[in-house]
């Protein structure tokens, strides 16, 4: 019976939810994301409370440049879409295409992360907007940095899954793993949309 | 298990007895013996909630005692199977609705009083004119209190002098960590936060007295030693106290030789942090009327030995003669012999700029005053124009009713 878990043939419609373990993972992960929502909500709350507390340091509309952030947003949104394709191919039991689309997702993730690191570097060096500059800067780097750390963790996770399953197909054991990784990726994406709005747009306008 | 209830009753009776024996605490500390407007309002609310709650408790206990008495397993019929009741809609509705009603009875005055206690708008006198507000900037620091009478140009520490029967307004901020200003006999407490979250409250003492004040928010090792006093004297006495305090420059020459030497030592070593007079310096406690203090640093016996000890240990002290652990005076740089410290003590102990001191709060003499002499005319007119809008809104209420000032205020608050 245990071997059935690792077979790649005759997969059901939704291999990620075909087993009790899969259903548990699926549901547990949704709840986990519920907790993550509270985590980010708390960080957003802190940020909103401190967004005008710039002390002597620069204010939001002095440092933020929307062009780069807009590109980052597009990159991350696209990566969410590509991960949907990957899941589509997983359900069709087409591991090669799944790996391909996951690869694209990861690549986009790296691009995003690279931009973010550049962005931070730029703020620190051109605006003297460091982590300890003001309460606002601490809140900004903590909120956006937490998101960045989530992206980095997601990348390691997906790459790990890709390597581990490079030589075997989709099966009942790894399908839930791929699926929740993609859920996580969507979640990160949604959080970014809020960051884009609350941190950057409101920072530039308000 | 017959002894079950009687044991409970016995222990309960003991506790009640103990309560009766001890009274309700110190009359100048206990919230159960209110002597101020705020404490009085809260006391009423307290009694109301206790009565409601005791009613609920009584109902619960009657049912509780009854079921335990009545429905114990019968020895002769241990296999008896009771009826497996699922519930009872009427009963369940009853014990949902009744608590809601009881809570509403409590909620209404709660909201009313919460707003009333937060009201810091100026008082009006019997003619409906706005009176001058005595604003006091309260600063909390590890582990002492500073009081600056904003418009009166008087500063003091540790002992807050206020007039009775007249509201004073406090604006509170902390120099370091969060403290909480609490004078249970006069009013509830209010946190004293660091910069950015200034709090305001009012105090109105209805009886003369020296009230105990406490810090009620953990603020470090000497949190429990951060006591202060509120000296409530009659308005006339307060007026005199303020005038006396205002006249202090810090340069008055003491009478005795030792004190004069002490003054010089003080000016060379201590004046950087401790002000005498109305200087805004808040590094250390203001010592203008140090001679009238009843306790040293809020909690210690007021005598020369302790003052010398304090100066020499900077208020900290070793194991065995600890004073205020964690006291911040340790940053001070000075090197004095015990004799020199004694001279400083001598100087400080004769700093009694006013005839008004805590004893005046304890005696029975009452001097009335509207305190108007404390507020020069020009300032008054400025404030008048500010307050005009508010008073015009409220004038209708005031016109209809000829009640005493106290009740009038309550109306405005509503």
């Amino acid at each position: 019976m245990a071997d059935d878990m690792l077979k790649s043939t005759n997969l059901p419609q939704n291999p990620e939810r075909a087993t009790l373990e899969g259903r548990n993972k699926f549901m547990g992960f949704w709840f986990f994301l519920g907790g993550e929502t509270v985590l980010f909500a708390s960080l957003f709350g802190t940020f909103l409370a401190l967004r005008n507390s710039t002390a002597e340091g620069p204010a939001a509309n002095e440092v933020f440049g929307l062009e780069l952030v807009f590109i980052m947003t597009m990159v991350l949104l696209t990566s969410s879409l590509t991960s949907v394709y990957a899941m589509y191919h997983m359900k069709n039991n087409d591991p090669k295409k799944m790996q391909l689309w996951l690869g694209i997702t990861v690549a986009l993730g790296f691009v995003f992360l690279g931009f973010e690191i550049y962005e931070f570097y730029h703020y620190v060096n051109h605006y003297e907007f460091g982590y300890s500059t003001s309460a606002f800067s601490s809140a900004f780097y903590t909120l956006v940095g937490f998101h960045g750390a989530h992206v980095a963790f997601g990348l390691v996770w997906i790459i790990g899954l890709m390597i581990r399953n490079a030589k075997r197909g989709v099966n009942l054991y790894n399908a839930p793993k791929f699926y929740i990784a993609s859920l996580y990726w969507h979640f990160i994406d949604v959080v970014w949309v809020f960051i884009f709005t609350v941190v950057y747009l409101m920072g530039k306008v308000g | 298990m017959k002894g079950w209830m009687s044991k409970f009753k016995a222990s309960f009776a003991l506790v009640v007895l103990a309560l009766v024996l001890s009274g309700c605490g110190d009359p100048f500390l206990s919230a159960l013996q209110p002597k101020g407007e705020g404490a009085g309002m809260i006391y009423d609310l307290m009694i109301l909630s206790i009565v409601i709650m005791l009613f609920v408790f009584a109902v619960v206990m009657v049912i509780y005692a009854f079921v335990i008495y009545k429905y114990r397993q019968k020895k002769d019929d241990p296999d008896y199977i009771p009826k497996q009741t699922e519930g009872n809609h009427a009963l369940e509705t009853l014990w949902t609705v009744i608590p809601i009603i009881l809570l509403l009875i409590l909620a209404v005055p709660t909201v009313q009083y919460t707003f009333a206690l937060a009201d810091t708008s100026p008082d009006v006198n019997e003619e409906g004119e706005e009176m001058d507000s005595i604003w006091i900037n309260v600063t909390g620091a590890q582990y002492w209190w500073h009081f600056e009478y904003e418009d009166l140009e008087v500063s003091t520490s540790q002992e807050l002098y206020i007039p009775t029967d007249r509201r004073v307004y406090l604006s509170m901020v902390s120099q370091d960590v969060i403290h909480s200003f609490w004078v249970p006999s006069i009013d509830g407490k209010m946190d004293v936060n660091p910069t950015g979250n200034t709090n305001e409250m009012t105090l109105l003492a209805q009886e003369e007295g020296v009230y105990f004040g406490k810090c009620a928010e953990l603020c470090g090792p000497s949190h429990s030693l951060m006591d202060f006093k509120v000296v409530a004297v009659s308005p006339g006495e307060f007026e005199q106290w303020v005038q006396d305090m205002q006249s202090v420059t810090g340069e008055e020459t003491p009478e005795s030789q030792t004190a004069q030497e002490g003054q010089e030592l003080f000016n060379n070593n201590c004046i950087g942090c401790h002000a005498i007079g109305s200087s805004p310096n808040k590094t250390g406690p203001n010592l203008t009327n140090f001679g009238d203090r009843e306790e040293l640093a809020g909690v210690f016996d007021y005598n020369k030995e302790n003052i010398i000890k304090w100066i020499q240990t900077k208020g900290v002290g070793e194991e065995g003669d600890r004073m205020k652990p964690g006291n911040r005076m340790t940053d001070a740089q000075y090197d004095l012999t015990d004799e020199e410290a004694g001279k400083i003590a001598e100087y400080l102990m004769q700093l009694k700029p006013s005839d008004i001191n805590p004893e005046n709060a304890r005696d029975t003499s009452y001097q009335d005053s509207d305190l108007s002499s404390l507020f020069p005319e020009e300032e008054e007119s400025e404030e008048d124009s500010e307050g005009d809008e508010e008073s015009s809104e409220e004038s209708e209420d005031e016109g209809n009713e000829e009640e005493d000032q106290q009740e009038d205020e309550e109306n405005n608050e509503e």
């Binding site: 245990a2 690792l6 259903r23 549901m27 547990g28 709840f31 519920g34 509270v38 709350g45 401190l50 507390s53 002390a55 300890s132 003001s134 309460a135 601490s138 809140a139 | 044991k7 222990s11 506790v15 103990a18 001890s22 605490g25 159960l32 705020g38 609310l45 909630s49 709650m53 609920v56 408790f57 079921v67 397993q73 019968k74 199977i81 009771p82 009741t85 699922e86 519930g87 009872n88 009963l91 014990w95 608590p99 809570l103 409590l106 009083y113 919460t114 960590v177 509830g188 209010m190 946190d191 979250n197 009620a216 928010e217 953990l218 949190h223 429990s224 030693l225 194991e319 065995g320 652990p325």
Partner: protein, 618 residues
């Protein structure tokens, strides 16, 4: 199984517990860990009470006193009450819903080890730098200014333990949602399962706020952030909000499972179905829901203004309604019953008046204006001890005694249990009842010394005497446990004449719990079978192979890694190497866990007949 394990020698037993993923053994681990910290917290409480036995006492120093009071609160809430509740949840919840294990056995073990290492980390602070001294609430900026590394231990230790709790919460939510036996509908779940389920939901949504708060505190203290530094634009009130957004639901996380225990105990020993079962469930959900909207009632004196204060005051009062419903439902469960005064029942009966008082003072505190007097005084101390000791602790002990036979197969001595109860109960009221009055008489909480001649002497003395009674009671309980386990006299699977599924299987249960999945035919399934059937639960499936998870040492290693890393982050400089090593261990074990397929194993049905548990080795 504990019997075989004992025969297997100490080393093997230790290894068995270090690597177990069996919820019953994890329950025992939580019980041991939680009880150890309970004793530690109790010791700290005794130091507090001895210091306050007389005015102006010099028994311990001010700094040490602040460390003791901080650690007493932190230990009791996070390291004693929470894990003891997790102990009961682990031991009982899967059995009550007819499951063979929890949804995530591996995560379950990980949750325990994270809690364990977090707790150890907190207490290591005593020996290396001095314990945290800013109160269990760690209000900024006192917690920022606090010297040494005490508060860093608080922040990082709780962070680690908090991750564990969060995982445990998710695990139980999914267990309840996905793993219920056939016929075990939501509205047939025992009330303990319901309350544990709701408490888990609260954990899920409350703990992340603490996580963020602790991160901000850590960043401020160790990495130069300015969240709580007013001179750099920071705001200290943010901490208070974050802490209480977590902290208030935390109270319900602690009390709801205790409500569940009492519901089980009262129903069993009154021989009656729980009165108003559905309203009990409804009340539980409502309490949890309202619990998230009342956090600012801890902050009435902060200066939020009368509008916010009034809203939170009224919302808080509303919680009294569902709580009242519960009290009356218990009373009417007793009404018309056949009450057996066993020791768990005596705990439950002691709970009712005690908790009613705690609830009453809760409503008094909710009255915002009046709270200006109560806040941060001994009145509050009395109130939350009435709720947490009178509710949670009595509930935990009722639960431990009630389910002891199920967990260990032995029965604690009833007579000693009654002694324990009476000493503890009387001691409790002596200690805390007078504290209401101390508070109203002007004694603020967290006071190292109180001044003489301010009318506070007598009640403080009474309070200390009461604490001694509680200590003696607890010692009797420990003695009882030792005697009982040494004797090791076995009892049947159903020694209390129980009503729920866990009593349908042997004590202690086999490691796979149910040979065949049970078929549930109503609320109180065992009672239903006792009344309408032959007293045995019907199987829902034919005898077949049982799938079981593999044991694993990874949870231990993963948690150890974070424990090591914590020191590196804290001490920095050359110690960064510790952080590198620690995080490498954790990351490495996570990778190991993901790269190595773990499919579990099967117990074959042929082996089930004679299988009386030779461990869960795969």
């Amino acid at each position: 199984m504990s019997t075989t394990a004992r025969k297997a020698g100490f080393g093997a037993t230790l290894w068995d517990y270090l690597t177990t993923v069996d919820h019953k053994k994890i329950g025992i681990l939580y019980l041991i860990g939680g009880f150890f910290f309970f004793l530690l917290g109790g010791l700290e409480a005794m130091l507090i009470r001895i210091q306050l036995i007389a005015p102006d006492n010099e028994f311990i120093s001010a700094q040490f006193y602040n460390e003791v009071l901080t650690m007493h609160g932190t230990t009791m809430i996070f390291l004693a009450a929470m894990p003891l509740i997790f102990a009961l949840m682990n031991a009982v919840l899967p059995l009550q819903i007819g499951a063979r294990d929890v949804a995530f056995p591996f995560v379950n073990a990980l949750g325990f080890w994270l809690f364990f290492f977090g707790g150890v980390m907190l207490n290591v602070s005593w020996f290396v730098t001095g314990a945290p001294d800013a109160g269990w609430t760690a209000y900024a900026p006192l917690s920022i200014f606090s010297e040494g590394h005490g508060v860093d231990f608080y922040a990082i230790g709780l962070q680690i333990a908090g991750f564990g709790t969060l995982m445990g919460g998710i695990n139980f939510i999914v267990t309840v949602v996905n793993m219920r036996a056939p016929g075990m509908t939501y509205m047939r779940m025992p009330l303990f399962t319901w309350t544990a389920f709701i408490a888990s939901v609260l954990i899920l949504f409350a703990f992340p706020a603490l996580t963020v708060g602790l991160f901000l505190l850590t960043f401020d203290r160790l990495f130069g952030a300015n969240f709580f530094d007013p001179s750099m634009g920071g705001n200290v009130i943010i901490w208070e909000h974050l802490f209480w957004i977590f902290g208030h639901p935390e109270v319900y996380i602690l009390i709801l499972p205790a409500f569940g225990v009492f519901s089980e105990v009262i129903s069993t020993f009154a021989k009656k179905r729980l009165f108003g079962y559905s309203s009990m469930v409804f009340a539980t959900v409502l309490i949890a829901f309202l619990g998230f909207m009342v956090w600012a009632h801890h902050m009435f004196t902060v200066g939020l203004g009368p509008i916010a204060n009034s809203i939170f005051a009224v919302a808080t009062m509303a919680i009294a309604v569902p709580t009242g419903i519960k009290i009356f439902n218990w009373l009417f469960t007793l009404w018309g019953g056949s009450i057996r005064l066993t020791s768990p029942m005596v705990f439950a009966l002691g709970f009712i008046p005690t908790f009613t008082i705690g609830g009453m003072t809760g409503v008094m505190l909710a009255s915002a204006a009046a709270d200006f007097q109560y806040h941060d005084s001994y009145f509050v101390v009395a109130h939350f001890h009435y709720v947490i000791v009178g509710g949670t602790v009595l509930g935990i002990f009722a639960g431990i005694i009630y389910w002891w036979p199920k967990m260990f197969g032995t029965m604690l001595n009833e007579k000693l249990n009654h002694w324990f109860f009476w000493l503890f109960f009387i001691g409790f009221h002596l200690t805390f009842f007078v504290q209401h009055f101390l508070g109203l008489m002007g004694m603020p909480r967290r006071y190292w010394k109180f001044q003489g001649e301010q009318g506070l002497d007598l009640f403080n003395l009474i309070s200390t005497i009461g604490a001694l009674f509680m200590a003696v009671g607890t010692i009797i309980f420990i003695y009882n446990v030792i005697v009982t386990q040494t004797k090791g006299q076995k009892v049947s699977g159903d020694p209390w004449d129980g009503r729920t599924l866990e009593w349908a299987i042997p004590s202690p249960p086999p490691f796979y719990n149910f040979k065949q999945e049970p078929l549930v035919r109503g609320l109180d399934p065992l009672w239903v079978e006792k009344m309408e059937g032959d007293g045995k639960i019907k199987p829902a499936e034919p005898l077949g192979d049982i799938h079981m998870p593999n044991r694993s040492f990874v949870p231990f290693v993963m948690s150890l890694g974070l424990f090591i890393a914590g020191f590196g982050v804290m001490y920095q400089g050359g110690y960064w190497i510790l952080a590198v090593i620690g995080f490498a261990i954790t990351a490495g074990s996570m990778l190991y866990r993901s790269f190595k397929d773990d499919l579990g194993y099967h117990v074959h049905k042929e082996d089930l007949e004679d299988e009386e548990g030779d461990g869960s080795n795969g």
